[in-house]
Amino acid sequence: MIKLDNINKSYVNGTSLHVLKGLNLRIEKGEFVAIMGASGSGKSTLLNILGILDTYDTGTYYLNDILIKDLSEKVAAEYRNRLIGFVFQSFNLISFKTAVENVALPLYYQGVGRKKRNEIAMEYLDKMGIADWADHLPSEMSGGQKQRVAIARSLVTSPQVILADEPTGALDSTTSIEVMEILKSVNREGMTIVMVTHDPDMAAMAQKIIRIKDGIIGSIEKV
């Protein structure tokens, strides 16, 4: 479902920094993949390219048989909205919106009416077990609750893949395991999940661990 072929990416910032050096990767539908790697190995860059947040220089990237290359910002936004769900380390909820409004935000950009999208958002909050917190602001919630809201938000558009960037990085170990359990249960329902982490314990909860080394795939191990 995700097909990366010979992806090259350099950052030119005074001197040129070659981050991804001809990376090839296949991720099948329904997989739960953990990407690990030392800092600077290119794992974040890879995730950004997967999330259509960043462009790549050469190679091809197919997401669900759609070539993701040289997209206009408008089309990229549309694809992000419909194909990808994001979960971030620092949650990235909008601080002045309630939980349900945050979850409904991607639907707002699809033009779904307010009543309809809040209904759908409530469904997903309920699924995450935090329906009671729907009308609370992020500042009134714990880290674990915020991440559940964020996961609900990533799921609300029924995307093709969830990209999770250190989803447990800001959480304590108990909460981390809870969040991982949620991700696993989401995966069990058929959702493809790609997670970047540097925590071996969290990576071990995925089905596959992909290690990035010097801009290419170092090793792939099945858990």
Partner: protein
Amino acid sequence: MNNIFDADRWREVWMSISRNKRRSFITAFGVFWGIFMLVVMLSAGNGLWTGITSQIEDVPYNACMIWTNSTTEAYMGFRKGRYWDMKQDDIAAVKAQFPEMDIVSPVMFANSTKLVRKDKTGSYNVKGLPATYPQIVAQNIYYGRYINEMDVLSKRKVCVLGKKIYDELFIPGENPIGEYIKVGGVNYQIIGVTDQIPTGINLNGRDGEAVAIPYSVVQQVYNRGDVVDMMMVTAKRGVTISDKEDEITALIRSRHSISPTDKFAVQVVDIEKIAQRFEKMAIGISLLTWLVGVGTLLAGAIGVSNIVMITVKERTKEIGVRRAMGAKPFSIISQIMSESLVLTVVAGFFGLAAGVGSMAVVSKILAANPSSGAFFQNPQMDFTTALVAALIIVVCGLLSGILPAWRALQIKAIDAIREE
């Protein structure tokens, strides 16, 4: 999708404005003040315009005054620096030569003279005027009538008092008509009380502070013979006086052996030119008020732009998240622009209302205390100007949103959500 009339969108806008109420308020105040000042200045300019035009609307545009001065050129055996007098004959000659002229009348001036009425006295200017005078300097008649042709021909010892003299020498409400008053030792019967309608044009002081007697009486009583101090000329409809001035003065020069090139000896004032000067002044003032007002408003709009810019900077992360969630460039632009627009428009219309309201109060106060000859009347904005002002507000709102919106567009989702 993301329809302009979508209530959600405005809800988003309102949320981001109301999140920092004090900052939004201070910013909005800049625009409020700008449009308030614009309205006040435009209204004031309008008031000035109304005041000036109401004064010059009574001016006979097609009129000029001619009077004498010493010669500056030796001519036909006469030395330069010679004093000369216009004569009654000159009036007749101009009349005969220029049938296209309407009024050709003499005016006489006598020096400040003592007036005695019962136990009250005062010193006032005396003007010797023709019956046609009110056609050139319009008069408000408070009592009686003005000097007529019969008064002039029969050299009747009658006078028209200026309103101010009446106020000083008579009891308020007292009818002065038929009464006698001593002017420089000679008794005159009072036939009227008048004052000139203010035009900004005065002949030897204001009429309200002078005694008018028939010019023929001045010539006789003050031993001036057939001398004429000033000639007033108006042209008939369809004839422009300024085109004829040179011909008229040329005739006068030739009749008095004055060099044709001696401009100084024959003085001419064209009333139309004076009126034009007033009009130009009023136009200049109104231009200035627009300039300063729009400038103030622009400063306010730049303030809004600045604040929205800061807001954008502060919301880098939020905007980045929105983009990651699928916000299209247009929806980001329209959101930021809408914020600027709402802030500017709301503040602007409050400013407009406050400005119009306070000028309405000023108008009322001015109307309640009318002073004649006020150069400042009814300082209010007309509807078109208000519409233009409203349009300017909206344009300013859009303009002030452009830069922040552009800035917001530069925010890439990846920059915003990058973990530090």
